[in-house]
C-alpha cells in the first residue's frame, strides 16, 4: 500500500515536473509541422517503448510526426547498413550499439555543437559521453541508455537465516553477494534445487541473443589487467588477438560451467529470457544489464518484487598478464565491471533529409526528464546514464523499495566509477570479428569442440581479419577506442 501511494505521488510529481519541463522546452521547440521522422529501433517493448513515449510528446510540441520502425535485434545492423551504404534516406534516426559506431561512422552526421552547450550535456556520465559517443574525434551519437553488466540476487533467499546457516555450514563463509567467480559458483551450486524449481543462476547462451557479452563479462575479470589497459581483446601494440590466452580460456570454461546451475533449456536463452526467469523466481541470481533490476522490482511483471538485490559483478584476484605470460596474483579481488554493449545510442544518418528535426528529437528523447521517466519504466530497456539519474533516490523509490533502490543505483554508479572498469570491443569490421566469435562460442557451449580449440579458431580468424582490414589502421582504431594514445 505504502509502495502504491508513494508510486502514485512520485509518478504524479514526475509528470508535473515533466509537464513543466516539457512546457518550457515546448515553448522553445521549433515547428516541424509536416516533417515525418523515420526512427529505427529494436523490436519493443525494450527501447522502442521509450521512443514511443518520447515521440508522443515531441509530436505534440513540434507538430512533427515520428514513425518508429522496429526490427529484431539481430537484423538491426543489416537494415541500417543496407540503407546507409546506398545513401538511402530510409532512416532519420537510428538506435544502435556503440560497438557498431566504427562501421557506421562514415555514414553518420556529426552532432550539432548546440547540443553540447547546456547542463544536460555535462549531466551525462563521462564514460558514455567522452568514451562511447565519440569516434575519430567527432561526436556522432547520443547515448539514450546506460548499459553495463551487474549482478542481481534474491534478497529473500540471501537474507533468510536458515539459508545463511546452511550455506555457512557447507562452505565455511557467510552467504552474501559473491565477490569472486569462485564464490559465484558455490552460491549457484547451493541454490540449485531442481526439485523445488529453483536454480542458482541464469545467463544468456544463445547465438544472436547477446551471448558473447556474457562471456566477455567473465573474461574481463581474468584479462583486463589494471597495469596494462586496453589489453583485454588485443595486444595494444601489435593487434595480436588475446582471446585464446589462459585468461580467456578460464573465462570460457567457467561460462560453460554456468549451464550446470541454470534452468533446463538455458542453452537457448537470450538476455530477455533470463530477466523473466529471475522475475519468475526460478533463480537465486543472475547477471545482466540493469533491466533485471527494474523488471524484477515491478510487481506486475515479477514474483520477487521487493526482494531484488544488486551488486557489482564478481571479480578475481588472479589476472592474466599478457606481457609476462603469467597469472598475476593480487592481494584482494579486483573488480572489473564490464561495460557490456555500452548502452543504446541514437544518431542521424548523413542521408537524412530532416537533420535538424532528427537531432531535435534525439535531444528531446534524451533530456533529463524524459530519460529519467524511461529509466523508471520497467521493460523500457533504458538504464541510468545521467548523473541526475543516479542521484534522484526519491524517484527510484517509486519502483524499488528503499533498499533495492540504494543497491541498484550504487551498483550502477559503482560499476561505472570502478578503477578497473572494462570497456567493450569497438573496432572497424566489428561484425566480422563477432560472427566467428559467436559461431565458435556456440560450438564450445554445445560441446562440439573443446574450449581451447574454439578460442584458437577465433584468434586465427581475428588475425586474418586484422591483416585484411589493415593492421596499422585497426591498431590505431583499437587504441583510440580503449582511450590509449597513438603509438
Amino acid at each position: 500500500m505504502h509502495r502504491n501511494t508513494s508510486l502514485g505521488a512520485v509518478i504524479g510529481g514526475g509528470l508535473v515536473a515533466a509537464l513543466i519541463g516539457g512546457a518550457a522546452f515546448a515553448q522553445d521547440a521549433p515547428n516541424f509541422d509536416g516533417v515525418t521522422l523515420n526512427v529505427g529501433s529494436m523490436t519493443g517493448p525494450f527501447i522502442a517503448s521509450a521512443h514511443k513515449a518520447a515521440a508522443e510528446s515531441w509530436q505534440e510540441a513540434t507538430g512533427g510526426t515520428v514513425n518508429i520502425i522496429e526490427f529484431p535485434f539481430g537484423e538491426l545492423p543489416t537494415k541500417y547498413l543496407a540503407a546507409m551504404v546506398q545513401n538511402d534516406s530510409s532512416f532519420d534516426v537510428i538506435t544502435f550499439a556503440p560497438a557498431w559506431l566504427p562501421d557506421f561512422s562514415p555514414y553518420l552526421s556529426e552532432m550539432p555543437a548546440s547540443l553540447r552547450e547546456d547542463e544536460a550535456w555535462e549531466d551525462i556520465h563521462s564514460v558514455y559521453r567522452d568514451r562511447l559517443m565519440r569516434w575519430d574525434g567527432k561526436f556522432l551519437s547520443q547515448t539514450m541508455d546506460g548499459d553495463l553488466h551487474a549482478l542481481s540476487y534474491r534478497l529473500d533467499l540471501f537474507n533468510d537465516p536458515d539459508e545463511q546457516a546452511a550455506f555457512k555450514e557447507k562452505y565455511g563463509y557467510d552467504l552474501a553477494p559473491p565477490e569472486s567467480w569462485d564464490q559465484y559458483y558455490e552460491i549457484a551450486e547451493f541454490f540449485t534445487r531442481p526439485d523445488d524449481e529453483l536454480w542458482g543462476t541464469a545467463e544468456a547462451f544463445v547465438r544472436g541473443g547477446q551471448q558473447f557479452w556474457f562471456f566477455f563479462s567473465h573474461a574481463a575479470s581474468y584479462t583486463n589487467h589494471p597495469d596494462h589497459p586496453g589489453s583485454m581483446f588485443f595486444d595494444p601494440e601489435t593487434m595480436t588477438p588475446q582471446i585464446n590466452n589462459p585468461g580467456w580460456l578460464r573465462a570460457l570454461e567457467e561460462y560453460k560451467k554456468s549451464l550446470d546451475f541454470s534452468p533446463p533449456g538455458s542453452l537457448n536463452a537470450n538476455s530477455g529470457d533470463i530477466r523473466t526467469t529471475f522475475a519468475g523466481g526460478r533463480v537465486a541470481m543472475n547477471f545482466d544489464w540493469g533491466d533485471t533490476g527494474t523488471i524484477g522490482a515491478d510487481p506486475e511483471q515479477s514474483q520477487v518484487a521487493g526482494s531484488v538485490g544488486s551488486a557489482i559483478i564478481p571479480g578475481s584476484n588472479q589476472i592474466w598478464n599478457y606481457k609476462t605470460n603469467q597469472w598475476d596474483t593480487f592481494d584482494e579481488v579486483v573488480r572489473s565491471p564490464f561495460m557490456a554493449y555500452g548502452g543504446w545510442q541514437t544518431a542521424v544518418p548523413s542521408a537524412s533529409e530532416h537533420n535538424d528535426a532528427a537531432w531535435h528529437y534525439i535531444q528531446w528523447l534524451t533530456n533529463p526528464e524524459n530519460s529519467l521517466k524511461a529509466a523508471l519504466t520497467g521493460g523500457s530497456g533504458v538504464n541510468p546514464y545521467r548523473l541526475s539519474h543516479f542521484e534522484d533516490l526519491d524517484a527510484w523509490s517509486a519502483i524499488f523499495s528503499e533498499e533495492e533502490a540504494r543497491q541498484y543505483l550504487g551498483t550502477q554508479r559503482g560499476s561505472l566509477d570502478a578503477e578497473n572498469v572494462a570497456l567493450d570491443m569497438r573496432i572497424p569490421g566489428y561484425f566480422n570479428y563477432t560472427e566467428v566469435l559467436e559461431i565458435e562460442l556456440s560450438k564450445a557451449l554445445a560441446g562440439e569442440v573443446e574450449p581451447q580449440a574454439a578460442l584458437d579458431a577465433i584468434a586465427a580468424e581475428w588475425e586474418k581479419l586484422t591483416d585484411e582490414f589493415g593492421r596499422d589502421e585497426q591498431l590505431a582504431a583499437y587504441r583510440a577506442s580503449m582511450g590509449l594514445p597513438p603509438l
Binding site: G74, P77, T78, L81, A82, V85, P102, D103, P106, V206, R207, G208, P263, P264, G265, L267, N268, P428, G429, F431, N432, E435, I439, E440, S442, K443, L445, A446, E448, E468, F469
Partner: protein, 289 residues
C-alpha cells in the same frame, strides 16, 4: 529483315531482361573475382580466383553444402513417399476425402516464417508442448533446437509438414489422368491392388514424379527462412545452409566479393545435383514412354 517491326516489339522485352537479369549476373560475376567490402568500406581490387579458393578450402562452406544436401534429400524423399501415399488414398475416395483434400493443402499456403515461429515455440525445450508431453510420460527433455542432430531433424520435419501437400496436389492430378480401362483389364487378369500399383500406377506416374521431385529439390536448395527463424544456422554452424551462409556473408558482413563467389558456387552445386538427378533418371523415364 522482312518484318522489321518485330524488332520494335522484341527489343523492350530484351532490354528489361538485360537490365533486371543479365546485368546483375555479370556484375556479381565480376565482383566474385574482387576483394570487395562495403563495411568497412574498401575499394574493389581484382584478386582472380582467390574468393573461390577461400571458399572451397573452407570447412564452413562444405559444412553448408552437406547440411543443405542432407535437409534437401531426406525432406524431399519423405515428402514424396508420404505425398504419394496420401494422394493414392485420396484418389481411392476414402471417407471424408473432400475435407482431407482441402485441409492437407493448408500448410503449403502458409508463410514459412509464421510456421517457423510456431514450430520454434512447439519445440522449445523449456516451454514447448512436445517436451511437456515427453515429461508427462516420464521421458527426458530433448534438446530439439540446441543439438545439431535434433535441430536438423526439426528442420526436416517442418519442411516435410509444409511441402508434402505440394506433392499430394500434383500426384493427385496425375492419378486423375490415368486411363480407367487399363485397371479394368488388370482386374480381369486378377491382378492384386499391389500388383496394379507397381505395374500400372507407379510407372505411369514416373514422369510427373520426376518433375515433382525435381521442383522440390530445386526449391529446397533455397531453404533459408525456416532455418533462419528456427535455429539461425546453429548451434555453431551445424544447421547452416548455403543460402543462409550467403546471407551472413552478404548482409551481415557486407563482403560482396566473397558473397558473389558463394552465389556462383551455389549455382554450380544446384546445376550439378540437377544434372546428376536427370541423368540417373533418364533410363527409367525412357522405359516408361
Amino acid at each position: 529483315m522482312r518484318e522489321p517491326i518485330k524488332y520494335v516489339f522484341i527489343w523492350p522485352a530484351f532490354l528489361v531482361v538485360l537490365i533486371i537479369a543479365l546485368f546483375p549476373l555479370i556484375y556479381s560475376l565480376v565482383a566474385s573475382f574482387q576483394a570487395f567490402r562495403l563495411v568497412p568500406p574498401r575499394p574493389p581490387r581484382f584478386i582472380g580466383f582467390e574468393n573461390y579458393g577461400n571458399l572451397i578450402t573452407a570447412a564452413r562452406f562444405w559444412g553448408a553444402v552437406i547440411n543443405t544436401a542432407t535437409i534437401v534429400f531426406i525432406a524431399v524423399a519423405l515428402q514424396y513417399i508420404i505425398g504419394f501415399a496420401v494422394a493414392v488414398a485420396l484418389h481411392a475416395k476414402v471417407p471424408g476425402e473432400r475435407l482431407f483434400r482441402v485441409t492437407f493443402l493448408i500448410p503449403m499456403l502458409m508463410s514459412p516464417i509464421a510456421i517457423s515461429l510456431i514450430m520454434r515455440m512447439i519445440f522449445n525445450s523449456t516451454i514447448g508442448p512436445v517436451d511437456d508431453l515427453l515429461t508427462f510420460f516420464g521421458l527426458p527433455n530433448l534438446p530439439f533446437l540446441t543439438n545439431p542432430t535434433w535441430a536438423k531433424g526439426v528442420l526436416i520435419t517442418v519442411e516435410v509438414w509444409q511441402w508434402t501437400p505440394f506433392v499430394i496436389l500434383l500426384i493427385l492430378a496425375g492419378l486423375q489422368t490415368l486411363p480407367r480401362d487399363i485397371y479394368e483389364a488388370a482386374e480381369i487378369e486378377s491382378a492384386t491392388p499391389w500388383q496394379q500399383f507397381w505395374g500400372i500406377t507407379f510407372p505411369m506416374l514416373l514422369p510427373i514424379s520426376a518433375a515433382v521431385i525435381f521442383i522440390r529439390i530445386i526449391e529446397s536448395f533455397k531453404i533459408m527462412d525456416t532455418v533462419f527463424v528456427l535455429t539461425g544456422g546453429g548451434p555453431g554452424t551445424s544447421t547452416e545452409t548455403l543460402t543462409l551462409f550467403a546471407y551472413q556473408e552478404g548482409f551481415k558482413k557486407f563482403n560482396i566479393g566473397q558473397t558473389s563467389a558463394l552465389s556462383f558456387l551455389f549455382l554450380i552445386t544446384v546445376i550439378i545435383f540437377g544434372v546428376v538427378y536427370l541423368a540417373l533418371l533418364r533410363p527409367y523415364l525412357e522405359r516408361s514412354r
